[in-house]
Amino acid sequence: MKIELRDIYKSFSEKEVLHGISFSVETGKALGLLGRNGAGKTTTIRIIMGLFNADSGEILLDGRKFRPKDHKIGYLPEERGLYPKKKVLEQLVYLGQLRGFTRKEAKESALYWLERLGVEEYKNSRLETLSKGNQQKVQIAQTFLCDPDIVILDEPFSGLDPVNAQILKDIIRELIGKNKLLIFSSHQMGYVEEFCEEIALIDKGKIVLTGNLRNIKREYGMNRLAISSASIPLEDLRNILNNSLSHIIRVVEKKKNFLVIELINNNTKDELLKALSDLELDIERFTVYEPTLEDIFVMKVGES
């Protein structure tokens, strides 16, 4: 199964918020939809879910028009919410039935997920009486209630404590293992790096970067190197490099234990190595730098 977004445009009150969003995602490969707050992630997800209609563009599933109502979708909206005054099990069964389960199936599935998430004891409590963390778990339970083939999670980790985040991580891994199609949006890069093979980076309503995460990292790390010295503090090292080697490299940033530098003017690593040895800097680390997703993110959208 493959979902493909092609050139999605969307305006609200004459203000265009999405300017031609395109990306694709396949089963068994999770897609991380990245972007700053207000970049257009939730709007994109809501268009996929059919909550909003796109002004133009199309969403295809294996080449045909995608109709969310025809598929079993597990959806965790950014705006978390259920009925605070209703009992936990009662509302999960209701949602299960709305998504096509019989009452019995819905109840069995709801109990399975409540147990799996460790909140089974609250099944007959009103939702509002549960702690915030446990309410989140009920939300997660509703997402997976109907054994979905497509899972769309909008900021799934926001507001989760480390223990609950771990539970959700395990579930997500399991879903990927079961070849489900998974899209999840986040501005927390760590989680995306953990699960997603593919990413789509949205900035101000535009896709600024999309593709396989490993390839992207390789590409972005291509001309970059990590360097440090055993005896010279990083700040001094930066000054020396800036003063002496500015025709070969550019110092990109200072990390905790090393500097990230970039080769310029088509210089090679060998040339740099020679120049460095002339400077006698007591080099401790000299290696190809693989950027983190956060680096790529900041690089693409940070300066704007």
Binding site: R46, M49, G50, L51, F52, N53, P68, K69, I73, Y75, P77, E79, R80, G81, L82, Y83, P84, K86, Y94, L95, Q97, L98, R99, G100, Q142
Partner: protein, 412 residues
């Protein structure tokens, strides 16, 4: 259809299980049971069976004493005056001082000092705003005067009394319906419709708005069609309301039937509602209720917080109250053109047509035409509400005006 049924069932059971529903139904039923059983309860404790409405009620007052002074024997036939004064016993006093003292001490209720056959002074401790004692005495004094003066002329008063107050018999043959008789139950039934629509309409609007404010909406709308959600909600809540009204009416009927003897069948005119009236009430009432419920539901979707519901629903509430008042005042003139027009307009036909059928005679064709108009408009309003609902559900922030929502709907 399955989605619709699921929503319908969820809303209905949610409503029936809610404390507000249970408590209000029980309280109203208890009030009716107790209220309608009062005569029977009194009978149990009273020695005079089945006579609480009889003359006995004035018995206590009959024991009350009033004083009088017949100055210079101004009224020669004082016994006639005494027997004509039905309010209480009249006791003669000799001096104004003694009369005053007795009034102040509360021994007697009030005093009358007769100056001449047609002139007296009324003496009372505290003057009440509406004092009927005076009229009783004045009537008695006038009668004593008539008896005496006619006697002087040699005419027997009882003979003249028959001439002055002839006993006129009247029989009314009603060919259509008796508005006077049907007035009370029509009045009660339209009040019931009024309250049910106002109360349940607000409840539906609040329920929609709260699904938005607690953010359940996004999950609901991605789980099933928006039309299932609003139709299920409106129909579920409508049935809950109909069940409540049904329970209350049945409890009232049974309570009255069980106590009818004690009431001396005095309330038959309220409870003997003809079947056709009940049928029209149910059909038109439920349709009108659903018609308004859809509008309230759509308006609820245009606000994001439950606090904003009442302001959003103001316009429709004003229309509804205006329609109700117009129909209500037309009850005094059921053949008016206004009521006829109102009985075909879907905003008002459920009350106006019901009034016409209940209190007058309406051709079946007119009823059917009005019914068809109401059914079609209810379906249209339902479809319209479903679109407004879908549009409004994800519009958070400030309340959206209906006019703007319609404009947005057209743009799409």
């Amino acid at each position: 259809m399955r989605g619709l049924y699921t929503v319908f069932r969820f809303e209905l059971t949610g409503m029936l299980k809610s404390k507000a529903f249970k408590v209000s139904t029980i309280v109203v039923c208890l009030m009716l049971i107790i209220g309608l059983s009062i005569p029977s309860i009194i009978n149990v404790f009273s020695s005079k069976e089945n006579d609480i409405f009889g003359e006995g009620t004035v018995g206590e007052e009959a024991q009350q004493a009033y004083g009088y002074i017949n100055k210079n024997n101004a009224v020669p036939n004082i016994e006639d005056l005494k027997s004509s004064f039905t309010l209480g016993r009249l006791i003669e006093f000799n001096s104004e001082e003694k009369l005053k003292e007795s009034i102040l001490s509360g021994e007697i209720e009030a005093g009358f000092i007769i100056e001449s056959p047609t002139e007296y002074k009324y003496m009372v401790k505290n003057n009440e705003m509406i004092d009927s004692k005076v009229s009783f005495f004045r009537e008695a004094l006038a009668k004593a005067y008539r008896i005496y003066e006619l006697g002087e002329m040699g005419i027997s008063y009882p003979d003249v009394e028959h001439i002055i107050y002839p006993n006129i018999q009247q029989d009314t043959v009603i060919l259509g319906k008796d508005s006077a008789r049907n007035y009370i139950y029509t009045y009660i039934l339209i009040f019931i419709i009024y309250f049910v629509i106002v109360v349940y309409g607000q409840m539906i609007a609040t329920s929609v708005a709260s699904e938005k404010s607690n953010r359940a909406m996004e999950l609901l709308i991605t789980s099933t069609d928006s039309s299932n959600l609003i139709f299920g909600k409106v129909l579920g809540t409508a049935l809950a309301g109909a069940i409540q009204v049904g329970i209350v009416l049945i409890v009232a009927m049974i309570s009255y039937r069980l106590n009818a003897g004690s009431w001396g069948n005095r309330l038959d005119f309220i409870f003997d509602i003809p079947l056709d009236v009940i049928l029209i009430f149910s059909v038109f009432g439920i349709l009108g209720y659903v018609f308004y419920a859809f509008i309230f539901g759509a308006l609820g979707a245009l606000v994001s917080r439950t606090e904003d519901v009442s302001s959003s629903a103001t316009s429709i509430t004003i229309i509804f109250v205006a329609v109700f008042l117009m129909s209500f005042y037309s009850m005094y003139n059921i053949e008016s053109i206004l009521l006829k027009v109102l009985s075909f307009v879907p905003f008002s036909s459920f009350i106006a047509m019901f009034i016409r059928v209940s209190m007058g005679t309406v051709h079946i064709v007119e009823v059917l035409v009005s019914l068809v108009i109401l059914v079609l408009s209810t379906i249209l309003v339902g479809m319209f509400a479903s679109r407004i609902y879908r549009l409004g559900t994800l519009m958070y922030g400030n309340p959206v005006k209906l006019s703007r929502a319609i404009r947005l709907m057209r743009e799409k």
